[in-house]
Symmetry: C2
Subunit: 484 residues, 2 copies
Amino acid sequence: MDHSTFKPDYLYQQVITVVKEMVEQELLLPGDKLPSLRAMASRLRVSIPTVQQAYQQLEMTGLVVAREKSGYFLQSGHDTATPRRSKLPAKPVMVNKQQLIEQVYEGIHLPDVAPLGLANPVAAASPQQALAKSMRQAMRQAQERMLDYGAIDGLTMLKAQIVQYYLALGLTVNSDDLIITNGAQEAIAIALQCVTQPGDIVAIESPCYFGIVELVENLGLKAIEIPVCPDDGLWLDDLSAALSRHSIKACLFSTSINNPLGSQMPESRMQQLLKLLCAHDVVLIEDDVYGDLYFGEQRIRPAQCFATPGEVLTCSSFSKTVAPGYRVGWMLAGPYSARAKRFKRALSCSAPMMNQWALADFMASGEFQRHLRQLRKRLYDNKQKMRLAVQKYFPEHVRVSDPKGGCVLWLDLGGAYDGGLFFQLALRAGISVAPGAIFSAYERYRSCVRISYGLPWSAEMEGYVRTLGALVQQAKKQPQPQSV
Amino acid sequence: MDHSTFKPDYLYQQVITVVKEMVEQELLLPGDKLPSLRAMASRLRVSIPTVQQAYQQLEMTGLVVAREKSGYFLQSGHDTATPRRSKLPAKPVMVNKQQLIEQVYEGIHLPDVAPLGLANPVAAASPQQALAKSMRQAMRQAQERMLDYGAIDGLTMLKAQIVQYYLALGLTVNSDDLIITNGAQEAIAIALQCVTQPGDIVAIESPCYFGIVELVENLGLKAIEIPVCPDDGLWLDDLSAALSRHSIKACLFSTSINNPLGSQMPESRMQQLLKLLCAHDVVLIEDDVYGDLYFGEQRIRPAQCFATPGEVLTCSSFSKTVAPGYRVGWMLAGPYSARAKRFKRALSCSAPMMNQWALADFMASGEFQRHLRQLRKRLYDNKQKMRLAVQKYFPEHVRVSDPKGGCVLWLDLGGAYDGGLFFQLALRAGISVAPGAIFSAYERYRSCVRISYGLPWSAEMEGYVRTLGALVQQAKKQPQPQSV
């Protein structure tokens, strides 16, 4: 310490500035180990005590923590154990995540691998019996029509049921504005094509479902990610800042329940969101696929319920509630309907007929709502059990989300750990997980993973969590030569 | 005539040149009435006898015909009564046909309208019973898996059957290169996106199935149309000329059986086609949906059978042979497979599971091939009956195609008639037809219509043809002020 007193103040200040810049540029993430005293000193051509003085100073401000015999780490924890929200990035980027996403898909669909990487909530409480009954009805009553091309915008019977469904949420939908699609994925693809051109900037969530990251890449759009708070959803201040700074063409948010965080945007904030978008004249595409899978007292309604025509395109599907294999979703396209139908027609003609008929019957019979109640209950139980298991089997420093709905947990293994490596290790152990890096168009969430509690809970499931917990230490990043 | 001898030669030559230019620019189409002597004289500021001399000269060359009390008409007939091939257009164009196509779709799906505008061959001999059996099998044996997401590239069982199907055609397909899609339309959309960027030039057929015209428009591609001969398919000389003149990125042809002409490209010409494309290093996307619906001794195999890897992407489906409402098609993507799978995933995840399972069972049971034999026989009978009816009930000057497969007749009402007006008149009479104009990215085929013989033949069907035949005279073009 004596030594350092000979150094002028600005030298240790300089070290502090460098560390803060590394944080700003996300070269250091929460939980990451700071460069060693020796490495930092040599890099900045200052003495080791100067670096130490800077690190101690940073420790006093709470930005870093010292760990005995390990060194200094960027602060990763607050008093809550859920992951924290990320920062608003400086600029929109072209997306380049397909190859990584592909590897994950390959892992998910390997035989004999427990599919914890896949978000399939239906597995928790399959409506198999009731749905099979509806399908047999479809075959008996409408076999002939099933072999025909259907209308581009979908089977009238099913559309009528979906109109009813929204009516129960207080929303009057014009049947002409409702288009049945091949799952919500196609609905979102069409919605994006309705309101954007290649090269346009689209605001997405951070973290964001990787199917959307990939779609944005495929359509040649630029993405800017708006941080999502694990509790209340989208960070409106950041969105406001982004809307002021960039010429954003459309927003694509899962307003009701976010995947992977499981956060939920209160309806009051949803109204604020709409006001903000209206002021900037930006369209909202909302992905409401998890909207019905809430754990609270009641459903957060889709933003469409609070919007005036043309402000919001709503995309949803039966894939997260009834049967992903049916490939039936829909969109409320409002004034974009004519355009959306043209895209639908040119992309894939109509949706599968018999599946539409069976789903219409499933809804009309009351089985849909009965099944949803059952599914929500089961998913909530699964969530509680899996969170407990994670807390039991994972190292203490691992942060885990407490989702307000949906079927996935989001884990932050800490900055010293590599989610991609963890994904590989888990796959070798016969378990698929989804690595954090695919949930962002940027280089983010590399220390995170998403695991699903959509499968029925069992001793086997608990075993998977135990196995995963034991793998965390092996997923520690290899020390690499760092450059500032 | 005396009068004209005072005129120097170049005046009547000038009239001839103007007429030939009008033909070149397609302002005059085969069968069109030439401007009256008086109108032409006034427009070109020459005397009426000068124009008459020119028209008589043109009559001698065979380009125009004089009809008593009617005037002069552009020659529309040869000794055959089938429509003639069109010309190679001068340059590629951005497509703008969606609104027109939309009106047609709306007509097709109106209730109580006989859907002669829709090409649905399956209606001719529905495999309903056997397919229902396969679907029940699917529900019994695989109900649980049906509720799951399937693999992006499709159900392994079905892929194995399609591999077998190609093996019987002498083609060995690597299962990894086969991707199940939501019908051929999605397969073609993906194939185009694999090999082109917006703004690229794509060669399509002329006339061309309107679903492709629309898709090319949606993807922001430019189209150049290559004339199709009613007998032998694509006109290779024209293709060769177009390939030399334009930087064509991909060709999209229905090589085996064209829609709407029903022409068929002999395998020897298909090999020439491939040689030509290879020399110019241009990829062929082939639409083989009608390939199995041939009327000759044996199937014309898809171009894929004669190609080396990467030259051809083959798109096909069960929509024209088994069940359009199932929405199951496929593509052979060869070296483009990885890219194609990414597009498939981002566009619509996987194809409907149960439908895939049922089709796999339908193929494995031998019912598919049995059904195809039956369907071909029925379609051939329908074609013969509908052609006879057209010859019986339509005015003599109407040309009708003699398709070598598929389910549609292509009628040329003659240049004095408006196919769009005929479409409107037919719709008012309770019959949908497809107007010729939607089968081209250019202003072509305005005097044509397509009608389907895919519905079971009956006295009612004959009645529809009689009604349509009686409407032709009403579809005569209104005389309009013409400008040169």
